[in-house]
């Protein structure tokens, strides 16, 4: 337990120290001087990091909302209905989650060029939907699989309309799964690098792109600070998951 915790905490501590370090050269084990230069730089308007951060947040939020809206009915159909081609559908959903995005993104680049979607936020949102929608669908499908549709029928008998059934019966029942699906969709969009580079063409600057830039330039303090910002949503999501896992513990994903 402690070993596992230590293994996850050490890199974080290292990044924190590194982001405040000044002149931390070989062979010094601890930095000789500390400064808040990296963080001041990150927060300055001229560096453009704040605007990239904002772009990342906006894209991830839009992608998450769209992905959930698209995934909800699809997940329900997959989990609660029998239909021809279900296995094909499952395969198609699994593919973008696992398979490399390279070929499909290159093809999409060609398609997006024709409609003026390259180098645009819209194009980047669309390309992020490709891994996020299948992911959210598969996660929500496992929530729906445990959902008893008779409760909806009961609400209907009591006179509830479509909207009220969703609002008071269905959504509360799948809420934990919905929360996990939404947070993971957010994280997937948040950490996209290659697809953003290809479709955004360097015009849409998100946090991962900036991070790679600083990693390449060798500015370790700023890279560490950016890595910490980049990790923040992951940590928040895990605090959230840890909280509700107490009510319904399952070790699966």
């Amino acid at each position: 337990m402690i070993a596992l915790g230590g293994l996850t905490a050490t890199p974080l501590l290292f990044l924190i120290v590194s982001s405040f370090a000044r002149q931390w050269f070989f062979p010094a084990i601890a930095p000789r001087e500390f400064s808040s230069r990296a963080w001041e730089y990150v927060a300055s308007d001229s560096a453009g990091i704040l605007s990239a951060l904002w772009t990342s947040v906006v894209i991830a939020l839009v992608v998450t909302s769209l992905a959930i809206l698209i995934a909800l009915p699809a997940a329900r159909a997959l989990a609660l209905h029998e239909f021809k081609g279900k296995r094909v559908m499952t395969f198609l959903l699994l593919l973008p989650v696992i398979a490399p995005p390279l070929a499909a993104t290159m093809g999409m680049h060609n398609l997006f060029l024709r409609y003026g979607l390259t180098d645009s936020l819209t194009g980047v949102v669309l390309v992020h939907l490709v891994p996020c929608v299948p992911y959210a669908t598969l996660m929500l499908a496992s929530s729906f699989a445990n959902f008893d549709t008779d409760t909806e029928a009961q609400a209907r008998t009591l006179g509830a309309n479509f909207f009220n059934i969703w609002r008071y019966v269905t959504l509360p029942a799948i809420a934990p799964g919905l929360g996990v699906a939404a947070s993971f969709a957010f994280l997937i969009s948040w950490s996209q690098y290659l697809t953003t580079v290809f479709i955004g063409g360097g015009q849409v600057l998100t946090l991962p792109l900036i991070l790679v830039g600083f990693q390449r330039s060798g500015d370790e303090a700023v890279t560490a600070a950016l890595s910490l910002i980049f990790l923040l949503p992951t940590l928040i999501v895990f605090l959230f998951i840890a909280r509700f896992i107490k009510h319904d513990y399952q070790i699966d994903l």
Binding site: P27, L78, V97, A99, M108, D252
Partner: protein
């Protein structure tokens, strides 16, 4: 419509909706199909078309296999293919072994403490770029481990430290994937162990099986499908993933995804169909692996739970 008495509160549209379940399922799936079918499959088809000679922007418009034929004699491609295959396999095998060991070691604790599962998921959800950055900070020639080695007097110069990032043996790449994928395989294995493990082992114990026999004849066969199928997913993923080899790999030979990316973004437009041919090969291998996974795992909805890869 189970109860005739409720008919009057239904609209006609809703009645039609209930009456045609097939149409209803189609409507429910339609938006997702637009994204996967239109964007993902559409993108793949266009990529395939371009790699087969449909590339008007580059002055090509005739069906040809030459971009694929060229790959057969392309020294960089062949070396990258070999490298990709070896690194992905080695990283997968190490992750599977460690993941299995970790699951077996943690099963007792994981059954009692909920947050073992949560802790194991942290490296899974860490973006690959950050894992890469942290790893470089630790294992680079002037990194943290080299400094520790200096402090205890093993080395006197950064150059004395073995090259572990951007190295010839892919040590950095393999380490990064082992860190990311071991917890994944451990989690998939733990899920099976905690669900079904105990009873069978208890039965074997009552029949007089010792610890070793229980492991060999009960536990391992029980978890083997989970280990193998999750290892296949890991292999499919590593085969085509980009960020880690981009940060931690050598320029030449690079892993296939990096080669494809470099050729695609080259100023020389005529390299694009070659880039697409490489990318299509990668997609084919990954598709095949996912297909085998599905056959093997007999995936049912509700048990398919993908995890954080990207």
């Amino acid at each position: 419509m189970r109860n005739g008495g409720t008919t009057k509160i239904r609209l006609n549209g809703e009645r039609a909706w209930r009456a045609a379940p097939r149409f209803r399922v189609f409507v429910m799936l339609a938006p997702a199909l637009v994204v996967i079918g239109g964007l993902f499959v559409g993108g793949l088809v266009l990529a395939l078309a371009q790699s087969l000679g449909y590339f008007p922007a580059g002055g090509e418009n005739a069906f040809t296999f030459r971009h694929y034929q060229a790959l057969l004699f392309d020294e960089e491609f062949l070396q990258s293919l070999l490298l990709t295959f070896v690194l992905a396999s080695v990283a997968t095998i190490i992750s599977a072994g460690l993941g299995l060991a970790l699951a077996l070691a943690l099963r007792e604790v994981a059954g009692r403490h909920r947050f073992v599962g949560v802790l194991l998921q942290i490296p899974l959800a860490m973006p690959h770029l950050v894992v890469g950055v942290i790893l470089i900070n630790f294992i680079a020639p002037s990194g943290f481990i080299a400094r520790l080695a200096f402090a205890v007097g093993i080395i006197s110069l950064p150059a004395d430290f073995p090259l572990l990032t951007n190295d010839a043996y892919g040590f950095g790449i393999i380490s990064a994937y082992v860190i990311k994928e071991t917890p994944f395989i451990a989690l998939m294995t733990l899920a099976v162990l905690l669900r079904t493990g105990q009873e069978y082992e208890l039965a074997a114990r009552t029949l007089g099986a010792n610890r070793r026999q229980r492991l060999r004849y009960v536990t391992l066969p029980l978890v083997a499908p989970a280990v193998v199928s999750s290892a296949l997913l890991v292999l499919a993923f590593i085969f085509g993933a980009f960020e880690i080899p981009f940060l931690l790999g050598r320029t030449y030979p690079a892993m296939l995804s990096v080669v494809a990316q470099r050729r695609f973004t080259s100023v020389n437009l005529s390299e694009r169909p070659d880039a697409l041919a490489v990318a299509v090969c990668l997609a084919l291998v990954a598709t095949l692996l996912v297909y085998v996974y599905m056959r093997l795992a007999r995936v049912l909805i509700g048990t398919t739970k993908p995890t954080m890869f990207t």
